[in-house]
Amino acid sequence: MSTQRETPTSTPAKRRILGPCSVVFTAANTGSWRLERPQLDESKCIRCGTCARSCPTDCITVSRDGCPVVFDWYYCKGCGICVNECPKNALSLVKERGEH
């Protein structure tokens, strides 16, 4: 999401598209922005799915069995909305690189 195209997209002369034309569906590693990360207390989680619904990056998966809440750390920006919205306070924000 950082490279800007400066030349027109090349097409036959009659159908010349000017300006950048976005054709590559891609994703930035927004997980690298994270300063704090949500941590789950499994004993409190009721698998309601509120965190997954309120996640702006849509990187949370709530499942019926196994670990209830799975985060995609490649995308989680660590905004903390899931922590704030959790009805059972099962999530908490911890420092990404330990306490300093």
Partner: protein
């Protein structure tokens, strides 16, 4: 058409360079989830332009165009006219614009589209300033809010977009908020099924511009709805229908205290804000009663 370099659950990529805790990301994911693949997006420059793509990189799996700030509704009208000419009646043309591109710069083209009753869905996400260019005040910025162009707090109130829209007599208009995503999805679904110019005005807290911790986006939107600073309502066939009555109507102190942009708005300004909220709500209630008769 698209070269897929990343996987995603929905129509929007997961890694978008919007700020942490951005409300627009929540809104566009839910809106596109409801609208589905048969949609064309028109996005003006602004924060939402991140979703229309930067350079060769696309962030949504839909066809779309990034126009200018002043003509999103006009571009959408043109696309809708093209579809009409082709006999295509199923594709939704969705303009996804910010408050600057709606209430300030794009108001004339939106007004024209509403007058002609073009078959478009116009969505305005309202973060109450020009956030993308560095938090300049827009005409949607509320009374007393500090921005880089109104450092001592905005001396006048905001334009009431939903009433401007209602005055055009569109088939469907509604306000929504990230505080209630179920309600937001219901309204988008309803708008999708109606023909004509439909306008949705969605409240969208911005952690960067409003000055609060990114985790409080939904909590703040909820405070806004509870205090009546943002009124959930629907307008259909000339009738106004308000959402549930705000529990703390006219007590916007908690809502304002959470945000740094209102740090200069103390004392009389808070009282003035509360007065405005109450008188606006009472007026809307009167409109609702008028439609019911």
């Amino acid at each position: 058409m698209l070269k897929m370099m990343a996987a995603s659950k929905g129509l929007v990529t997961h890694g978008v360079s919007s700020c942490q805790g951005c409300g627009i990301e929540l809104i566009i994911r839910n809106v596109l989830d409801v609208l589905g693949e048969d949609t064309v997006l028109v996005i003006p420059p602004g924060c939402a332009a991140l979703f229309s793509g930067t350079g060769p990189e696309a962030a949504v799996k839909l066809a779309g165009i990034q126009g200018n700030l002043e003509n999103s509704a006009a571009i959408a009208s043109g696309i809708a006219a093209g579809f009409r000419h082709q006999g295509n009646e199923h594709t939704t043309v969705c303009a996804f614009c910010g408050d600057g591109a709606t209430v300030d710069i794009g108001l004339q083209s939106l007004s024209g589209a509403m007058e002609r009753n073009e078959n478009i869905l116009y969505i305005c996400y309202d973060n109450e300033a020009y956030m993308n260019t560095g938090i300049q005040g827009s005409s949607s910025t509320p009374l007393g809010a500090s921005t880089t162009t109104t450092p001592a707090g905005k001396p006048v109130g905001s334009k009431d977009l939903i009433q401007i829209v209602m005055a055009h007599g569109v088939p469907y208009a509604a306000t929504a908020s990230v505080a209630d995503l179920g309600d937001l999805r219901r309204k988008v679904k309803k708008a999708k099924g109606i023909k004509g110019c439909r306008v949705l005005h969605i409240h969208c807290p911005c952690p960067t511009g409003w000055g609060y911790h990114s985790s409080k986006t939904i909590e703040l939107a909820r405070e806004g709805v509870d205090s009546g600073a943002w009124v959930l309502m629907e307008y259909e066939n000339g009738r106004v229908k308000l959402g549930r009555r705000p529990s703390k109507l006219g007590h916007a102190e908690d809502y304002m205290k959470l945000q740094k942009r209102f740090r200069t708005a103390v004392g009389e300004l808070t009282a003035q804000t509360n007065e405005r909220i109450i008188s606006r709500y009472e007026y809307l209630e009167k409109l609702e009663r008028l439609g019911g008769e």
